[in-house]
């Protein structure tokens, strides 16, 4: 954001009286320039959220191509209290998020620290590592479905080479969730790597040189200079990635569809099924609102903890 004084130079509301319609319009440029953004946000974010609130206390049914809304009071809430799948979905999602985000942060940070030491080839390497970030998650799911294939997937071929029994990676209740975690770690580590590398490359060089002159070892340099300087980047990345891991949908949809049983049921998948598989729009809306609140609480708590910590330090 610029200083207000600079902005004032462009705030021509107090300008001369407009001579023509064109001038009148131009003096209000900043209004109509922002108007499309506001219209889109009002129509496509605020309106759906208001609808979500109404839906959550309604039963929505479809008859002869028409949509019928009926107020149903607290019915959806009672359904929620009796629902055993949603808690399972939350548990699976939280477990998923904790494991993949921890692994991705550690691997991404280590790779970035290493890459920052390598002078040549970084452009090419970075491009290769970035491919998964930009590829459709559905394509990634397809690729891994074939890698996990029972008959000819590379994992089972590998096991066979060591005379070990092949595994049903996506079909066993024990292995399905870890299998999806592996896909997510493969998918998103490069993203953490990218953000960490950008952070490392923008660090000031002077403190490191000073530490070097004072005879710091590599480990001391890393522990007492680089990581503290990098902390703001790490904290923002951690929150961002956590929020996004919480949304996981595409790969699970393609690899397991939530199964076997509810072993890989995650929040997004379950809400989507309530909405469209079971046509329970009202109950899906209630679950959506709960999910939005969970997200908001997490963001607020996280920011508060981070702020307290940085003010204590």
């Amino acid at each position: 954001m610029n200083a207000p004084s600079v902005k004032a130079a462009f705030s021509r509301r107090a300008g001369p009286r407009p001579q023509s319609l064109r001038e009148w319009l131009d003096q209000r440029f900043h209004y109509w320039a922002l108007a499309p953004t506001l219209v889109v946000l009002l129509a496509l974010t605020i309106y759906p959220l208001v609808q979500l609130l109404i839906m959550s206390v309604s039963t929505v049914s479809f008859a002869e191509g028409r949509v019928i809304w009926r107020p149903s009071g607290l019915d959806n809430f009672h359904t929620f209290l009796a629902d055993t799948i949603f808690p399972t979905a939350i548990r699976n999602t939280v477990l998923f998020v904790i494991v993949v985000v921890t692994a991705e942060m550690l691997l991404g940070l280590i790779l970035a620290l290493i890459a920052s030491q390598v002078k040549r080839l970084t452009g090419l390497l970075r491009a290769v590592l970035m491919i998964p970030i930009l590829v459709p998650a559905i394509a990634i799911g397809t690729v891994w479905r074939l890698l996990y294939n029972f008959e000819f997937g590379v994992f089972n071929q590998f096991l066979k080479a060591f005379s070990l029994p092949p595994q049903n990676w996506n079909g066993s209740a024990l292995l399905a969730l870890p299998s999806i975690m592996v896909v997510d770690i493969w998918h998103w580590t490069a993203f953490i790597f990218l953000l960490m590398l950008a952070g490392i490359e923008s660090l000031p060089i002077e403190p490191m040189e000073a530490a070097r002159v004072d005879g710091a070892s590599d480990w001391q340099l890393l522990r007492h200079v680089v990581l503290p300087l990098l902390q703001p980047t790490i904290l923002v990345t951690l929150m961002f990635r956590t929020i996004f891991a919480f949304k996981v949908f595409d790969e699970v949809f393609l690899l397991t569809g939530g199964g076997p049983g509810n072993a890989t049921e995650v929040i997004s998948l379950y809400i989507n099924r309530v909405f469209f598989g079971q046509s329970r729009m009202g109950y899906g809306a209630l679950l959506s609102i709960i999910t939005i609140l969970l997200t908001a609480v997490f963001v607020i708590l996280y920011n508060r903890t981070v702020r307290r910590r940085s003010s204590a330090a």
């Binding site: 953004t37 799911g141 961002f240 909405f275 997200t295």
Partner: protein, 275 residues
């Protein structure tokens, strides 16, 4: 950062390994996509390459992949153009003009919250909205959803490019008598062109990749490539060759963009995440 020299040698090995792990699944998929069925299931390394999977994927009568591809292209291009226009104008207005602080604060908070909540929470109301507007299974319905999904990150990229742009150039244009619109079009837009390129590429790629909204706002006519792939995978469990071909084809835009515009992509992704 400066560590001891020996780390750079370790670095090459580790990065080469990371690159291999990243690329291997794609190579595996590409190889499967040019194999006959019997060579896929036997897992052989010696095989007669074939294009039959691509041929079936695009030209067989049951396959809707050409329709899916056209839909994906139209949706990605149109939503990208809309996002570019709306985010550039909006970002400029927010960044360079004086708005009440409370208004911009609420707006920024709202955009951030919207960006963070899982998309699935809005897909239900979106479905009902598009149905009532007659946009269900129409390209426009998907375009609108991709427009709003990509608006937050695009606004942030535009705003941070503007924040790095010295305001004096715009002041000079004003002194020379340029209008607000003229300054915007002839001075600002050309100067933040690299930022707009980042916005365009990321919006295109994200739209091309997006699955959840495309899945629920379409059935057949407006289905995109990810929707097509997912339905194909569910319907024809064992047509591995065509699945591989489709997955490989869907990754091509990412590879093309990374070849030609890596810097813009890195900048855009970093700005969009660390804002």
């Amino acid at each position: 950062m400066i560590l001891s020299r020996r780390w750079s040698r370790v670095g090459y090995v580790v990065l080469a390994l990371a690159a291999f792990i990243t690329l291997a699944p794609f190579v595996f998929t590409f190889i499967n996509s040019i194999k006959f069925y019997k060579d896929i299931t036997s897992g052989t390394l010696v095989f007669q390459p074939t294009l039959v999977n691509y041929d079936r994927l695009f030209f067989s009568r049951q396959s809707a992949f050409i329709v899916n591809t056209t839909n994906s292209l139209v949706i990605a291009v149109v939503s990208t153009v809309l996002v570019l226009v709306i985010a550039t104008l909006g970002g400029y207005s927010l960044e360079r003009f004086r708005w009440p602080r409370r208004f911009t604060g609420i707006l920024a908070g709202w955009i951030l919250l919207f960006h963070m909540i899982p998309g699935v929470t809005l897909v239900g109301p979106f479905y009902l909205l598009m149905r009532s507007l007659g946009l269900y299974d129409r390209l426009l319905g998907v375009i609108l959803s991709h427009l709003v999904l990509n608006l937050p990150i695009s606004l942030w990229i535009v705003q941070s490019f503007l924040a790095d742009l010295p305001v004096e150039l715009e002041e000079a244009a004003h002194i020379d008598g340029a209008s607000n619109l003229g300054t915007f079009l002839r001075v600002v837009v050309p100067l933040i062109a690299p930022g707009l390129a980042a916005v365009a590429i990321l919006t295109f790629v994200f739209s091309w990749n997006e699955f959840l909204f495309a899945l629920n706002l379409t059935s057949t006519k407006a289905a995109t490539i990810p929707v097509g792939i997912a339905k194909f995978a569910q319907q024809y469990e064992v047509r591995y060759g065509e699945m591989s071909a489709a997955a490989f084809f869907a990754t091509l835009p990412a590879v093309v963009f990374l070849t030609f515009a890596q810097r813009q992509i890195v900048k855009g992704l970093t700005l969009g995440a660390l804002k």
